[in-house]
Point group: C2
Chain length 274, copies 2
Amino acid sequence: MTAHEARLLSRQNCITNTSGLAPGYLQANLLILPSKYARHFHDLCLRNPVSCPLLGITPPGDPHSVRPSSCIQTQDFDIRSDFPMYRVYSKGKCIGRQRDLYSVWTDTDDYVGFLIGCSFSFEDALAEAGLQPRHQKTGTVVAMYRSNIPLLPAGVFTGARCIVSMRPYKPEDVERVRDVTRPYLSTHGEPVAWGWDGAKKLGIENVHRPDFGEPQVFEEGEIPVFWACGVTPQMAVESAGEKIDGLVFAHEPGNMLVTDWTTDDLWRLREGTI
Amino acid sequence: MTAHEARLLSRQNCITNTSGLAPGYLQANLLILPSKYARHFHDLCLRNPVSCPLLGITPPGDPHSVRPSSCIQTQDFDIRSDFPMYRVYSKGKCIGRQRDLYSVWTDTDDYVGFLIGCSFSFEDALAEAGLQPRHQKTGTVVAMYRSNIPLLPAGVFTGARCIVSMRPYKPEDVERVRDVTRPYLSTHGEPVAWGWDGAKKLGIENVHRPDFGEPQVFEEGEIPVFWACGVTPQMAVESAGEKIDGLVFAHEPGNMLVTDWTTDDLWRLREGTI
């Protein structure tokens, strides 16, 4: 399946989870804001690239194109429909879920969309290295936690903290896990912490009770390994609360955009040649 | 004075503090490592751009040029001498200070130098906006603290925390201070925390007893405002400790490199057009 075909399936509401869809293509998280907050959110991404790695931006009021254009290579694109499911935020609270955003983003609105990197890419690399993430094997949703790592503030976005995802590994595999995921800078890169001590330092009291997703099974001797997570931008919107006037849209976790970029493009992103 | 003239003064050991030297030109912090650790340190900068904003890199073993070349525009350059004073680190400890690095970086060494942004630029902007930093007025060294903000790990660089600098301001001026410094993304940008509560959240127990630099005088009603600080890379080297085999060099704090870049180049850096 091509990325374009995957986006059409999402647009036609034929799927609700993009995990494993169109293998080889990068998937993206989403945040859409009124243009007057776009510069602040852009700065937030540039200041916090591990949790909010910026892949692309839509011009104000234009839902049909992404810069850089290599990210979405067809004219037949609409950021208001090409994710399977959206969340609507008002004053920092999620007030609803919608299959598309046509009714809330009309021709006169000047919304700006941000595409944020997603960990699906490095999960494929881990699996290829014989280090398949537990939640892939067990068919569960990855465990996610609120951490105490501050999201460094930018404009109206103050006071938020990073969300982290967790995958269990044997202590002797941690260095290899770090090495495999390190190059994926635009999709969260290497872990931010590991071990039971690492969990404590992140302020996570009970690893077996995640704040989002599902608890993961630990095998004998395994320890938790934590990565920054693309749900973090939604926490930034929650923390901004009433400082944001107007609606904000995000993707429903797990319901991502399939882009035209592949892992090869990640290396070019890393070198700044896209 | 041109930037080149300022570098020659540093090379000839005619100055020991570059604050206020060659106004208008950007100054840079330094870290020099054996090339085998360069990729890890590069990743550390890309993952932590607020405390470690990368301005330029020297090719392995070549002390005479910087990429991008617009940063240093003359052939008459030597990163081993053009800072007024250097620190030498071994196994995570500062073991000495030298006026130049000729004796320790010889023709057969493959060292890579990293130039890191410095807050002098936004201090000029604050002064122009009528918000001159206290330490400029009192002729003291800015107060610096070890914070609890984790430096997100990269390769051998694990377990470090960010250093922050502090300037006192009136609470009603904080939003303007944030606005003035926000665009300076490559020189630490806007504050990471502010207020007495902010100090507590950073784990700073006594603002009047900084870990580096000098205590600052607070006027009636003023609160502390904290920025990420370019001394952080040296903390990363200390934390890496014995994981780094060989010598590491850094600048002596306050003894910076004057580059050929000006504030205008900062805007181009921000837009990725350098």
